[in-house]
């Protein structure tokens, strides 16, 4: 387990040890036009990647509210990946630039309150980059596995 950069608050307690069969849950929030299409291409190309990611589709990475990232880490996810179109390729002209700026601030904020900075990650994946998507997911999964579980609330809410 890596050390936390900011020690003011430490949710990432080093004493939390992952059980042997533990698998992280990662939420992937992908823009419809580039990254979601790219992830579809990974599928049609039958490229394999770790099964930990759960994908949520949004129109544009600029739709991703800071709230979503906090809520994810707070409730179900051990890590979040946000992915959008490459700079300059945004389907909505400039949305991904706003997303990038907001994301950097969010990352700092989460880091400040004690989350390791690798818990949330950002990538650019185009609709043509099936192999890149598989690589990004593998890398993020590796990173989160190293960080260990976040051990907060879990599911239940929606089950009988």
């Amino acid at each position: 387990m890596e050390t936390v950069t900011n020690q003011l608050v430490s949710i990432e307690k080093p004493e939390i040890v992952a059980p042997p069969d533990w698998q992280p849950v990662i939420i992937g929030i992908l823009c419809n036009w580039c990254s979601y299409a790219g992830s579809d291409l990974t599928g049609t190309s039958r490229l394999q990647y770790p099964p930990n990611i759960r994908i949520i589709r949004v129109p544009c990475s600029s739709r991703v509210d800071t709230w979503f990232l906090i809520k994810s880490l707070q409730t179900t996810a051990d890590g979040v990946l946000v992915s959008g179109c490459h700079p300059g390729d945004c389907h909505y002209i400039s949305g991904n630039y706003f997303a990038r700026r907001r994301f950097l601030v969010t990352k700092k904020l989460l880091n400040f309150v004690g989350f390791h900075e690798n818990r949330i990650q950002f990538s650019w994946v185009s609709a043509a980059e099936g192999p890149k998507f598989a690589k990004v997911v593998s890398k993020v999964t590796e990173d989160i596995k190293k960080l260990g579980p976040l051990h907060l609330y879990k599911k239940e809410n929606f089950e009988k």
Binding site: Y49, P51, R54, S62, Y92, F158
Partner: protein, 657 residues
């Protein structure tokens, strides 16, 4: 309470081989809100859809989840199935268990099944927060604006007008025609450009559905697809077109001589002029920069000789406003300036000219009576060297792209030279000969045989002067040697470049352009004539260099798009757009700044019930909003929501994993 139906697809073996489908159904049934869950071999088939339709009625379902392939694949299909069963189509959610699970976790069925169940649970949770949405219909103004009157703009305007849709054609210069009006004969058939172009120009002027506004520019575009308002600046021509007969008395007598743009500065025109004899409209304008009456108040000859009294030195620029529904941008191209090629002696040696200058010289209506002449001494050249890719495919000096037309027109130029000067000899320095196109390769081969042109493969490294000749030194890569050719005249096939004002125009229209200044299409393959902004289309070289056949095809494609847009009295629009809850809006206007489409404006509402005091709030124009969600995430008051991707919907997905 919500009653959700879940339909899990086998997709033949595509899903079933790697995901335990019955297990996914069992998991789904454990969710409190799920009242019905079933699997089927092919959900998208008609019997598959029938199961959905039946279940909706039998189980009084309130939303539907289909777990199958990507929503990008069949979302529309399943939405239609819901519609057919009388349910609002937007109550559907698709769980992508094929592209996102069975196909990417083929070695771990247990994990793939677990993931598929999670994806279904997320979709169920989202669907519970789905709302009924209805397609938006927006009224359409059936009038098109075409910007640029080259062959692209002319063709687009004629095609649209022939469908009885009014067109406003705005041309910057005094006449329509563009670069094609400057060409002599055209590849690959060598028919004369004027003969095929001028009838079309005349058609534009006389077409009852075309309003031609020459000598003008677009100042402002407001609104959204189907409902734009355009402001056009009509520059003062100082000639009353209503009374002018185009007799020409004025320009014959005008004493001021100016470089003639139409003939690439090879000869002179007057300060009052029509750009060329076949100009449309065939009325003169006064060039305010050079007319001494306008600059110094001295002269006034044209007013004296005009029998109709059409000259008006007091004329002012005029602002014209029109309501339009669609725009075709056809602003063409500029010729790239070869100045950076210092080693060629560009600017120092008079007998180096550009391809368009050569084109003007060999033109029957050109400044030299159709003969290529050396600018230095006016003699007819015998040895002519053509250099291709000047600026093109040369990242260091010019631009990295291929200008696409130079291979073909240089071939054409060797033929024209051969026709005009029988005892001449042409040399062509080239990198490649790109002759893809119907009849193009044949054209090049025949020309090589007929003209006996010497082709030398390689870049020219230097041009220097020897007596009254130019020595062209370059490499002949085929023999691996440096060669020198003695030339009387050198013709540079300079690159095609984007019009200088394109970036300004793009900003004004709200569309994007690439690093060279070419306007960007929405998709390089599947939407090559649309821009990312609905209702704005691109034709001709303003999008990328192309020849006349391709330009005309793209222009006609634009016309088809415009006609399609105007086919009904209203337009249907996806309802997944944002709306502001004014109760929550604090009026900070952060959203106004982030909207890439300028869809958000401000509005005034009363402070409270019956209050006379007003406060500012944001208001989203549903016609303009494209549903990106930028504004939703930026709003600190959570006053905005994006239909189909609301906060509750996404949060439900997050918390239900």
């Amino acid at each position: 309470m919500a009653r959700v139906g879940v339909f899990v697809c086998f997709c033949g073996a595509n899903i079933a081989d790697y995901v335990d489908v019955p297990q996914v159904v069992e998991e789904a049934k454990r969710i409190r809100e799920v009242k019905f869950a079933i699997d089927y071999k092919y959900m998208c088939s008609d019997p598959g859809q029938q199961q959905i339709r039946d279940a909706i009625a039998q189980h009084r379902l309130t939303s539907i989840v289909v777990a199958a392939c990507s929503p990008r694949m069949h979302e529309k299909t399943f939405r239609k199935a819901l519609s057919d069963a009388g349910m609002n189509p937007y109550l559907l959610e698709v769980a992508n268990i094929r592209e996102h699970s069975s196909w990417v976790h083929q070695k771990d069925k247990k994990a793939a099944t677990e993931k598929a169940s999670d994806l279904v649970r997320m979709a169920v949770a989202k669907s519970i927060a789905n709302e009924q949405l209805h397609e938006i219909s927006v009224p359409v103004t059936k009038r098109a604006l075409v910007i640029g009157g080259g062959i692209a703009g002319i063709q687009a305007a004629l095609d649209i007008a022939d469908a009885r849709i009014p067109v406003v054609l705005v041309e910057k210069s005094p006449s329509i025609g563009g670069k094609m009006a400057q060409l002599d004969e055209t590849f690959p058939t060598l028919d004369c450009a004027q003969c095929i172009l001028t009838p079309k120009m005349v058609d534009v002027a006389s077409h009852p559905y075309i309003e031609l506004i020459p000598y003008s520019e677009v100042l402002e575009l407001q609104g959204f697809v189907g409902n734009y308002k355009v402001k056009i600046k009509k520059k003062a021509s100082y000639v009353n077109f209503k009374t002018c007969t185009g007799c020409g008395a004025c320009w014959q007598k005008c004493p001021v001589k100016v470089d003639n743009e139409y003939n690439m500065g090879i000869d002179k025109r007057k300060a009052i002029y029509t750009p060329f004899p076949q100009a449309v409209p065939n009325k003169p304008v006064i060039d305010a920069e050079h007319c001494t009456m306008l600059t110094k108040g001295k002269c006034g000859i044209c007013a004296k000789v005009c029998e109709k009294g059409s000259i008006d030195y007091q004329m002012q620029d005029e602002i014209i406003e029109r309501e339009i529904g669609a725009v075709v941008v056809a602003t063409g191209y500029d010729m790239w300036d070869p100045k950076p090629y210092e080693e060629y002696g560009v600017g120092r040696f008079k007998d180096i000219i550009t391809s368009l200058e050569f084109e003007r010289m060999v033109s029957a209506n050109g400044p030299t009576n159709g003969l290529p002449l050396r600018p230095s001494d006016g003699k007819v050249p015998k040895n002519v060297v053509f250099i291709k890719c000047v600026g093109s495919r040369d990242e260091a000096k010019g631009i990295s792209y291929c200008s696409k037309i130079c291979c073909m027109y240089t071939t054409k130029h060797t033929i024209l030279l051969h026709h005009k000067v029988h005892d001449s000899h042409a040399y062509v320095f080239y990198m490649d000969i790109r002759a893809a196109g119907k009849g193009y390769e044949e054209f090049v081969e025949k020309a090589q045989v007929d003209t006996g042109t010497t082709y030398l493969r390689g870049r020219v490294s230097k041009i220097y002067k020897k007596g009254d000749k130019l020595m062209v030194r370059g490499e002949d890569a085929q023999i691996g040697q440096v060669v020198e050719v003695e030339a009387d005249l050198v013709v540079l096939a300079t690159a095609v470049s984007a019009p200088k004002d394109n970036p300004d125009l793009a900003r004004l229209l709200g569309i994007s352009y690439d690093k060279y200044g070419y306007l960007s299409e929405a998709h390089p393959k599947l939407r090559p004539v649309e821009t990312a902004k609905a209702g704005i289309f691109l034709a001709g070289c303003t999008q990328a260099p192309k020849d006349i056949p391709e330009t005309v095809s793209q222009a006609s494609a634009c016309a088809a798009k415009v006609c399609g847009l105007f086919a009904g009295d209203t337009m249907k629009k996806d309802p997944m757009i944002s709306t502001v809850n004014t109760e929550y809006c604090s009026g900070c206007q952060n959203c106004v700044k982030v909207c890439p489409y300028g869809a958000i404006v401000t509005d005034e509402v009363p402070f409270g019930h019956g209050s006379k005091e007003l406060r500012t709030v944001a208001k989203i124009n549903e016609g303009v909003c494209q549903g990106c969600g930028s504004c939703v995430a930026i709003c600190r008051s959570t006053a905005i929501n994006l239909a189909g991707f609301t906060d509750p919907q996404i949060i439900n997905e997050i918390v239900s994993i």
